[in-house]
Symmetry: C2
């Protein structure tokens, strides 16, 4: 069994392994997937630049892969990472900083779900 690249690029949901927060979604072709598995860092295929993209190669914000999951249809990847810096090109920790509400779309002020001391204590108890 392997990811199904027959239909083209696959979306990869990048999750912060510590907090569980979704950091970004990017796309992988088979080469990017293989590079990711081989190097333990995230590689994507940039749709805008149409080229292989080693996340962090320019910014230094590499993402260290902790675990990789495939969905039931084998056409979506979920990659849990330890980020070495912000995931977003804007400098924000996560790319999902716009909240859609009944009053429109506004920038999220306080980023949710950041692992805090309570969560860390609980994680310790559980392990």
């Amino acid at each position: 069994m392997k990811p199904d690249f027959s239909k083209g690029l696959l979306p990869a949901v990048i999750v912060d392994d510590l907090s569980g927060d979704v950091l970004m979604v990017a796309y992988m072709d088979e080469t990017a997937y293989q590079k990711t598995m081989e190097t333990g860092q995230t590689w994507f295929y940039s749709r805008s630049r149409q080229e292989l993209w080693h996340k962090g190669a320019t910014s230094g914000n590499y993402q260290s892969v902790q675990s990789v999951f495939l969905d039931c249809d084998r056409d979506t990847l979920l990659v849990r990472v330890n980020p070495q810096g912000p995931a977003c090109h804007t400098g924000k920790r996560s790319c999902f900083f716009y909240e859609v509400t009944g009053e429109g779309i506004k920038e999220v002020q306080k980023e949710k779900g950041k692992k805090n001391i309570f969560d860390q204590v609980i994680t310790e108890i559980q392990n």
Copy 2:
């Protein structure tokens, strides 16, 4: 500001609002997005059936929308939901039940990140 549907369907990452786990990724066109915002339940565009798809209409496993986020490029959605049943058509809670390891791809036995009593207590303390 609104989601950018100019390039076609947008991936929507569906997250369990309670546990923070990624449940599934599906696609929305503008109609599915509007229906989702209007009804407070998830609607998608099924790429295989090529039709609007009200999640749960057949299975009863509706997803009640708690919050919606848009990414920096406005071409990916993140929807936090309270699921009324399994997200996956296989009956599993999450579609991401295959783990890719150095020894190949294997089904995850124990689903990770399920909200347990410890997390619930901490959530109460924080609120």
